[in-house]
Amino acid sequence: METFSFNDGFLALCLFLAVVLPLVSCVLSFLTSDRYSWLIILNAPFLLMLATVFATIVTVSCWNSGGGIIELPWLTLSEAEISANIFVSQTSLLMMVVVLTVSFLVHVYSVGYMAGDANPRKYFGVLGLFTFAMLGIVLSDNLLVLFVFWELVGFSSYLLIGHWDEKPEAGNAATKAFLYNRIGDSAFLIGIMILWSGTGTLEISALRHQTFSWQTAAALCIFGGVIGKSAQFPLFTWLADAMEGPTPVSALIHAATMVAAGVYLLIRLHPVFTDTALMIVSIVGAITALSGSISALVQFDIKKVLAYSTISQLGLMIVTIGASGPQAAFLHLFTHAFFKACLFLSAGSVIHTLHQAHRRDHHHFDVQDLRNLGGLRKKLPVTFLTFVISGASLAGIPFFSGFLSKEAMYASALLNKDSFSILIFFALAAVSFVTVLYSFRLIWFIFFGDERSGGGTNLKESPVIMRVPMILLALCSTWPIVSLNPVGFSGWIAGEIAHPWWLTIFSVTWVGVALATAFFLFRKSPVASNAFVANGYGLDTAYRFLFRSSVDKLASIAEVTDRKVIDAVIHASAYGHVTLAHIIAWLDKFLVDGLVHVFSGTIRWIGSVARSYQSGKIQDYILYAILALIIFLIWLL
C-alpha cells in the first residue's frame, strides 16, 4: 500500500489533535483536583467537540484522496520492525468521525445524567481514555498496535462498567466483561503469533495480499478475539451483564466503541480470511443473530432488551461479512452506531426521569422493568419521539437509516447465488422479523397503554443537555445519513450492490407483516418470559459448571499439591536428615565413643595394675628382686 501524505500540514495537525484530544481530556480529568471537579464537565465535552470538528475537517478534505499509510516507527528488533503506522482510508476516517461524534454526544449527555455523581473525574477521565483507545483501533495499521488499543478498550470498559463500585453487581459485571474479553484476546494473541511466524509482518495492509501456512487457523483465532469483543456466540453473555454500568456508557459501548471494534477489525482483515474461515464466521454470526433477537423478545429489563438487540445486530453484520463481504456490514455498523446510541440515551432518559421522580416521591420500584412502565408518551414527548425514531430505524422501517443498511445486507446476501447464501438470506429475514417484534414490544410497553407505575404525577422531561444529544442522534437515524434516495442504499458511503428488483418491495412488505404480527401479539401484554432464553440460554450456568468449577478444582489441587506433596517431600527429607543425624550422634556417643572408652579403660586398667607394683616399699622391691633372681636361676639351670 502506498504511503499517504497530507498536502497540507494543517490536516496532519488536525488528525493528530483529533486522536490526542480525548487522551488530553483523560489526563486533565485525572489531574484536576477534587475541589475543581466541576471544571471537568465543561472541559471534557469541549475537548471532545474540538476533536470531532478536527476529525470532520480531515475526513472531508481527504475523502477523495485515495488513502494510504502514514508511517510511524514504534520498535525495531534486529530482524523485524513493528511500526505504528496509521491507516488512512474512507472506512477508517468515517469510523473515526462516528466514534468521536457519538462519544461527544455521550459526553454532553453524561453532564446531565451523571450530575451529582461522587466521582466525575474518574468517569470523564476513563470516558476519554475509552474514546482514545477506540480511535487507536480504528486508525492503526499494525495488528499488534491494534491489539494494544484493543486491550486498552477492554480495560477502560472494565472501569466504566464498574464505575459504581459500591454495587457488588457492577464489580461482578466488570470482572466478567474483562475475563470474557480476555478469553477471546488469548485466541487473538495466538492468531498474531501464527501471522508473525508465517509472514514476519503484522501490518494489515501487507497481510491483505499474502497467503501463508495455517491461514485458516490464524483467521479463526483472530475471529476468537472478535467473538469476545463483539459479544458473539458463545461469549455474548457479558454484554447483557455490562448493563450494570451507567447508561451513557452502555450507549458508547454498544454504538461506536468496544463491540463495534470487533466488526471493524473483521472488515479490515476480511482478505486474510479463507473461505472455510468465512463460512465459520457466518455460521457463528447467524447463531448469534438469531439467539440474540429471540432473547431480546423475552427480556423485561429495558436495557437488557437493547443489549440483546445489539448482540443480534452485531451478529447480522458478522453474517454479512462472512457470507458476502464487508461493504454492507460497514454500512450497517455506521447506521447502527447512531440509532443504537439514540436508543440507549432515550432509555437512559426514561430511567433518569423516573429516578428523579422517585427521589421526590420516596416511592420505589424497578424503573427498568417493562412491566412497571407504560403511557409515558404524554409526559416525555421528546424522549418518546427520539425513542420511536431510533426504534423504527432499528426495526428497519422505510425512511429510516436502518432500513437502507438492512436492504444493503439483503442485497449482498443475494449476490452469490449458491444455496448457502440463500440460507443466509433467510436467516437475515428471520432476524429482521424478530427485530421488528421486540422493537415494537419495547416502545409499546414504555410509551403506550396505561401508566402502570404509580408516582408518575410529577414526571419532568430530562434537562436540555440530555435532550439535545438525543435529538441529534435521532436525526442521524433517518435516511439522508445514508443516501438522499429513501429506498436506495447506494449513497456516499456504500456503492451500488447488484440486487433483484423485488428486494425493496419484499422488505417493505416484510416489515409491514412483522409490525402487524407485533401489534396483535403484544397489544395486551408482553409475552411471558422464558427463563432459559432470557438468561442467555444457560450459557453462564454451563460455563460455571464446566470451567469455573473445574478451574477452581485445579487451583485447589495445585495448592494442595504444594502443601501436601512438594512440601511434604521436603519436610520428609528434612526429618530424614535430622533423624539420621540423631542416629549418627547416638552411634558417635555409644559406638565410636564406646570403643574409645573400652580402649582407654583397658589402658587405664593395665596402668593401674602396673602402678600397683610401684608401692614404694623397700621390702616389696627386695621381694621382686629375689623372685626375679630365682626365676633367672631356674631358667639358667
Binding site: 514504534w74 520498535l75 525495531t76 528488533l77 534486529s78 530482524e79 461522587a118 466521582n119 499488534l144 491489539f147 494494544v148 488499543f149 486491550e151 486498552l152 480495560f155 472501569l159 464498574g162 463500585d165 459500591e166 454495587k167 457488588p168 457492577a170 464489580g171 461482578n172 466488570a174 470482572t175 474483562f178 475475563l179 480476555r182 478469553i183 484476546d185 488469548s186 494473541l189 495466538i190 498474531i192 503469533m193 501464527i194 508473525w196 511466524s197 508465517g198 478451574v551 477452581d552 485445579l554 487451583a555 485447589s556 489441587i557 495445585a558 495448592e559 504444594d562 512438594i566 512440601d567 521436603i570 528434612a574
Partner: protein
C-alpha cells in the same frame, strides 16, 4: 571511569562496614547512610548508562589477577577479578539499584535494630550488583553465595511469626542449588585452559573462555570432543542439568518453588521486594550467562524439557495463586507464573524469545516490587493479609485503588505497561521456534496463553473481592482505620508505575540494549550447539 563497576560494588560494601562502626543508638543515621550509598550508586549508574555504547560484547571491563597459584605439574590455578557489562546485565544492574532505592525508602520507618538491618541490606546490595557484573565464575559464585547470608538473617530476624522456618527453608533450598553449581564449577575449572596463558596449562574460571569449545583441555571430563557418558547422559549434559536445576531453584521453577511463598509471606515488605525483584532474577541470569552459553548443545537437547517446565510453572503458579487466600501469597505465586515466561522465552532459542525473557525480567522486577509494596500498605495498616477480610476499599482509598489497578493490570499483561512487551515477545518467539529452529513445538506457546487468562482471573477476582462492594473490614483488620496512601508510599509506588508505563509505551531504548545481546546469544547457542551436538 574505567573502574566504575568496582565502585558500584564497593560503595555499598564500604557503607556496610561503616554501619558497623556507628553506635547502635544513633538509629536514624543508618537509614541515611543506606540512602546516600544507593543514591551514589544511582548517580554512578547514570554515568555508566550514558557512556555505554549500544552494541554487542562487554564494556567497562575490569580484569585483574586475583588468585594465581602454581600447582607444579598440575598447571596453574587462575581466578581473576573480572567485571564487565553487556546488554543484559546493564538493565539488570539498573533494576537492582532502582529496587534497592525503593526498598530503602520502604524500610525508612519502624525497623528494629537498624544497625544490623541496614548493614545487611548494604551487603546484600553489593552482592547483587556484583553477581550481575562478575565474568569470572569463582567471583560470581562468591557474590552469589554472599546474597544468601544477608537474606537469611533479613528474613530470619526481621520477619513474621514463622520466620525461622521460612528462613531455614530458604537457606537450605538455595544452598542445595549452590552445591549443584559448585560441582559444575569445579568440573569446568579442571577442564578449561586459558589460551592467553604462556605455554603451560592454566586452569581458569573465566566464563568467556568456558563458552569457547576450543579452550577445553583434551580428555578432560567436560571436553566437548571427548564425550564421557555417565549413565543416561554425557558428562556435559549432566553439567548443564546441574546448572539448570541449581539456578531453577532460585528462579524459582515448579516444582522447586515452595521456599518462595513461605519466604515472601514471612519476610517484611522491603525484604520481599528485594527477594522478588532481584534474587529471582539471579536464577534467570545464571541460565542466560552461564548454563546456556557454556553448554549450548545440551541446552538445545533439553529445550523441550525446559519449555515444558516453563509452561508448568506458568500454569501451576497461576492456579495456586488463584487458590491463595492470603494476598501476599497470591502475589508470590504470581511471581512463579511470571518467571515461567522467562524460562519459555529462553527455551525458544529465538531472538524475540530471549529479548522478551530479559525484558520480562526487568518488567517483573518493577511490577513485583510494586505488588509487594501494595501488600505491605494494607498489612501496615491492619496486620491482616487475608483477601476475604476486605471489601469495598475502592471508595475508601482511591489513590491506593488507582495504584492497585495499575499494578494488577500491568501484571496481567495489559498493553501500555512493560509486562505486555516482555510476554508478547516471548509468545512470538516461542511460537516461531518450531518453524525457525525446531526447538519447541507451537502447542507449548498456545497452552501458555492459558496463563494469561488465569492471570487475569486471579487478579480480577482479588480486585473484585477487596475493592468493589460496600466498605467492610473483618478479621484482624476489624478495628483498623484505613487512611489512603501517605507521601512515603506514593514516593515508592509512583516512580514504579511511571517506569513500568514508560517501558510499556516506549520500549525501544531498553530493546536497543537487550537486542544485540539476544542476537549474539542466539547465534552462539544455535551455531555452537549444532556443531557440538552429536545428533543434530
Amino acid at each position: 571511569m574505567q573502574n566504575i563497576l568496582s565502585f558500584l560494588i564497593l560503595i555499598p560494601l564500604l557503607g556496610s562496614l561503616a554501619a558497623l562502626l556507628i553506635r547502635p543508638t544513633q538509629t536514624s543515621l543508618f537509614r541515611w547512610l543506606a540512602l546516600i550509598a544507593v543514591t551514589l550508586q544511582l548517580i554512578l549508574f547514570i554515568v555508566l548508562v550514558s557512556n555505554y555504547e549500544a552494541g554487542g560484547g562487554f564494556q567497562f571491563v575490569e580484569q585483574r589477577s586475583w588468585i594465581s597459584l602454581d600447582l607444579g605439574s598440575w598447571g596453574t590455578l587462575k581466578a581473576d577479578y573480572f567485571l564487565g557489562v553487556d546488554g543484559m546485565s546493564l538493565p539488570l544492574i539498573g533494576l537492582a539499584i532502582f529496587v534497592m532505592l525503593i526498598a530503602c525508602i520502604s524500610s525508612w520507618n519502624g525497623v528494629t535494630n537498624p544497625k544490623g538491618y541496614f548493614s545487611l541490606y548494604l551487603l546484600l546490595n553489593a552482592a547483587v550488583v556484583g553477581s550481575f557484573a562478575a565474568l569470572d565464575f569463582l567471583l560470581f559464585y562468591v557474590f552469589f553465595e554472599f546474597m544468601l547470608l544477608p537474606m537469611f538473617f533479613l528474613i530470619g530476624i526481621w520477619g513474621g511469626s514463622r520466620r525461622e522456618y521460612a528462613s531455614i527453608k530458604f537457606f537450605l533450598y538455595t544452598l542445595l542449588g549452590s552445591i549443584l553449581i559448585l560441582i559444575v564449577m569445579i568440573g569446568l575449572y579442571l577442564s578449561v585452559n586459558d589460551p592467553s596463558g604462556s605455554g603451560g596449562l592454566v586452569h581458569t574460571f573465566n566464563m568467556l573462555h568456558m563458552s569457547d569449545p576450543s579452550n577445553y583441555i583434551s580428555n578432560t571430563i567436560l571436553d566437548p570432543n571427548n564425550i564421557v557418558t555417565l549413565g543416561p547422559f554425557s558428562a556435559r549434559s549432566w553439567a548443564f542439568l546441574f546448572l539448570f536445576f541449581g539456578f531453577a531453584i532460585k528462579l524459582p521453577m515448579v516444582p522447586l518453588h515452595t521456599w518462595l511463598p513461605d519466604a515472601h509471606v514471612e519476610a517484611s515488605t522491603p525484604v520481599s521486594v528485594i527477594l522478588a525483584a532481584l534474587l529471582l532474577k539471579i536464577g534467570a541470569y545464571g541460565m542466560l550467562r552461564i548454563a546456556y552459553p557454556i553448554f549450548p548443545e545440551a541446552a538445545l537437547d533439553f529445550s523441550v524439557m525446559v519449555a515444558v517446565f516453563a509452561v508448568i510453572s506458568i500454569l501451576y503458579g497461576a492456579l495456586t495463586a488463584m487458590a491463595s487466600k492470603d494476598l501476599k501469597r497470591m502475589i508470590a505465586y504470581s511471581s512463579v507464573s511470571h518467571m515461567g515466561f522467562v524460562l519459555l522465552g529462553l527455551a525458544s532459542g529465538t531472538t524475540e524469545g530471549v529479548t522478551g525473557a530479559v525484558y520480562q525480567m526487568v518488567s517483573h522486577g518493577i511490577l513485583s516490587a510494586m505488588l509487594f509494596i501494595i501488600a505491605g500498605v494494607l498489612y501496615d495498616r491492619t496486620g491482616d493479609r487475608l483477601i476475604r477480610n476486605y471489601s469495598g476499599l475502592a471508595g475508601k482509598m482511591p489513590y491506593f485503588f488507582a495504584m492497585v489497578l495499575i499494578a494488577f493490570f500491568a501484571s496481567m499483561g495489559m498493553p501500555a505497561f512493560s509486562g505486555f512487551i516482555g510476554e508478547l515477545m516471548i509468545f512470538l518467539g516461542a511460537f516461531k521456534s518450531n518453524a525457525h529452529n525446531g526447538l519447541i513445538h507451537e502447542s507449548l506457546a498456545i497452552i501458555a496463553t492459558l496463563g494469561l487468562i488465569f492471570g487475569a482471573a486471579y487478579f480480577l477476582w482479588a480486585i473484585q473481592r477487596m475493592f468493589f462492594g460496600t466498605y467492610d473490614v473483618k478479621g484482624n483488620a476489624r478495628n483498623s482505620i484505613l487512611p489512603d496512601l501517605n507521601n512515603r508510599e506514593i514516593l515508592m509506588l509512583f516512580p514504579l508505575a511511571v517506569v513500568t508505563f514508560i517501558f510499556g509505551v516506549y520500549p525501544q531504548p531498553l530493546l536497543d540494549l537487550i537486542n544485540p545481546f539476544a542476537t549474539d546469544f542466539v547465534n552462539h547457542l544455535l551455531y555452537q550447539g549444532r556443531i557440538l551436538s552429536p545428533h543434530l
